[in-house]
Amino acid sequence: MPGLIAVAGAMLPLLYLALLVDYAATFFLRTRTHARSPHLLAVVVLHLGYLALWGMHAGHPPVTSTPEVLSVLALATAAVYGWVELATRDRRTGVFVLLLAFLFQYAGSFAMVGHAQDAAGPAAGGLWTRVHVLPALVAYTALGFAGVFGTLYLAARRNLRGHRFGMLFDRLPPLEALGPMAWHALLTGFVAMTIAIAVTPLMFGDGGGTMSARIVGKIVTGSVAWAVCAAGVFGHWLGRWTPARTSAVAVIGFLLVMALLAVSGVLS
């Protein structure tokens, strides 16, 4: 089984890359923009199988170390995008979202090299750690979407206001669709991050109260990211922020959360 897992781990980034090429063709050639995408489903199913094998072999859910978390994030990003695509019947944003999934899986597979398959990572602690992990994963995924859709909104808006009919013009969904997508992703990410952070003190007890550099780094970066997302959510609700400003905050929140992930990976 370890050999099979290693081969599958090496293959997954290539599969995501192939998907990326397929979606890039849709975006640039403007063909099959509303077609169904069986390849995406196939990759998601294969990825699910890979993580199931990994979990069975390791004896714990594959969410205890940074490489595992990255792989789960890639899967979650691809699966949620698949759902969005099914609901909207629109493949035009796929290349951007799947770029994120590809990068997650590429980084995950890269970090996996030399990582013992059955070694539980730092997040393999007790009950509260596990309660923390699920909303944290949702937050990472949702803010990934918020970052992508926010960036697309800002780029499309800039083009439209600047009267530029270039590459992005008519290759993206309308502003009225992108704005709410970024907002809903930001809101979901913020709620999930709030839950994950709320559980943190209890999770900290699981670890025997040891304050490692990794945990300090995560707390600092996570707090800043949470504060930015909170500003975006409450600014939108109470301050009637424009979609452009909310999208800008979504992008910043996304970057901070990626920094959080990097801190977690580097210091683990």
């Binding site: 403007r30 099959r32 206001r161 009919f165 008519d170 993206l172 969904p173 502003l175 009225e176």
Partner: protein, 460 residues
């Protein structure tokens, strides 16, 4: 005589005064097809008549006219209220067989259109086909050909970007609106001015499902008339109203999309009047100013939620789209080439000679399989008798079908021959046999069987 030909005229070969002199109304098309059916000059026929082309696709019958072009012009003269105009040299073109197929596929793909990539032509080809079906002048070949042409049109639209992007100012305005608004049915369109261009833009927006319409004009009566007229469109807005120019600021505040096209020499939508109204706005407002001189104060475009475009922007968008369409032409032509080759393969397979060869091969296969199965029960002379018996039986079974096919090849109407060949191929599953048999070996055996068949014919 070719199996298929097209005779016609189009914007490539004739000026508009000639084209309009040859164009037929739907009733006239039906009368022309009824005549064709009545006098049996053509086995099959279809007439495509649009503002840019009049084309007659036909399968000649055994007693077809000696000069098909003259025949067509005479027929047009009989069904038109006025006689056809004198045709300048080169106005009429005629294409046969492969070139006729290619021409139809290019027409259906909108590669031959005046505005390459326009979407109306495929619908016009479909209408022409339905008229031919109703008149019962579309037979075996045209049925197959036209369905293939629809497929080509669809492939080009889905596999290339040839039909994407707007090709005119009204469509460009709709395209711009689609970049901002997710659902036009929920939007309010404000039309400022009731000129022809503004009306065309409004019609394009209404056709795309714009939900609510306000028409503002200096003359309220004209605004009311236009609002009523647009509301009467098949996909008309759910609500409509007319206002005077004095009521513009509140109307702009309610609108999502403003089309401005008055003949005023000063801006009608001024910054001072609208900035206070728009400053409180939280949803996007698109303003398309197609008037020259402009109707909208350019400073309004700096407001947070305002997307302001003028006629130059629309022209640039149209030019950009046309350039993108031109880049797609080679890909569309490749699809046409592919489909022409596929159609030719199909047509070649519906010829008599290869079908007879396959028919013999099918019977030989059945005969040999049965000998294999039952041959063990026979030995020596009995086995020879069995061979001779089955061979003779196969010859006799094949004799009449082959004689009929040969007769159709020599004297039959094209569509009757093709339909018969098609039936024979389906009855004996010859397409599958053709796909599975190694050519060289099978053809040698076919020749031997053919020699036997000749003997059988002599015996008969």
């Amino acid at each position: 005589m070719p199996e298929l030909l097209v005779i016609g005229t189009s914007h490539h070969t004739a000026p508009v005064e000639v084209r309009e002199g040859l164009a037929l109304a739907p009733d006239a098309v039906r009368r022309l097809l009824a005549q064709v059916r009545a006098d049996h000059a053509w086995d099959e026929a279809l007439l495509l008549s649009t503002c840019n082309r009049t084309e007659f696709y036909a399968v000649p019958g055994p007693a077809g006219p000696a000069d098909p072009a003259a025949d067509l012009v005479a027929r047009l003269g009989r069904v038109r209220p006025a006689p056809p105009p004198a045709l300048p040299d080169g106005a009429l073109y005629r294409l046969d067989d492969r070139e006729a197929v290619r021409h139809l596929f290019r027409v259906a793909a909108s590669l031959d259109s005046q505005i390459v990539g326009e979407s109306e032509i495929l619908g016009q080809v479909k209408t022409a086909y339905h008229q031919a079906v109703e008149a019962r002048t579309a037979g075996f070949l045209l049925n197959r050909l036209l369905h293939r042409a629809f497929r080509v049109g669809k492939r080009v639209r889905t596999e290339t970007a040839l039909g994407q992007g707007s090709a005119g100012v009204p469509q460009a305005a709709v395209e711009l609106a689609a970049q901002v608004f997710a659902d036009l049915a929920q939007k309010t369109v404000l039309l400022v001015g009731a000129g022809r261009t503004a009306e065309a833009v409004a019609r394009a927006l209404v056709a795309r499902g714009a939900g609510r319409l306000i028409v503002a004009n200096r003359t309220l009566y004209r605004a009311q008339q236009l609002a009523l007229d647009l509301a009467g469109e098949s996909a008309g807005p759910s609500t409509h109203e007319a206002v005077g120019l004095d009521d513009l600021p509140p109307a702009v505040a309610r609108a999502d999309l403003v089309i401005a096209s008055t003949g005023a020499t000063e801006p009608v939508l001024t910054y001072d009047a609208l900035a206070p109204v728009l400053a409180r706005r939280t949803r996007p407002l698109m303003i398309i100013d197609i008037a020259v001189p402009r109707d909208v104060d350019a400073r309004l475009g700096r407001l947070e939620h305002v997307y302001l475009y003028d006629i130059d922007d629309l022209d640039r968008l149209v030019e950009r789209n046309m350039a993108e369409r031109r880049r797609e032409i080679p890909r569309a032509e490749a699809i046409v080439d592919d489909e022409v080759a596929e159609f030719e393969r199909w047509l070649a397979s519906r010829q008599v000679a290869p079908t007879i060869r396959l028919l013999r091969r099918r019977l030989r296969g059945i005969r040999l399989a049965q000998i294999d199965r039952y041959g063990k029960q026979f030995a020596g002379a009995d086995r020879d008798q069995l061979e001779a018996f089955t061979r003779s039986m196969a010859k006799r079974i094949l004799h009449h079908p082959i004689a009929l096919l040969k007769h159709l090849a020599a004297d039959g109407a094209t569509s009757e021959r093709l339909a018969t060949v098609d039936l024979v191929r389906r009855l004996f599953d010859l397409d599958a046999l053709e796909a599975e048999a190694p050519a060289g070996e099978a053809e040698a055996a076919d020749e031997a069987e053919a020699a036997d068949e000749t003997d059988a014919a002599d015996d008969a």
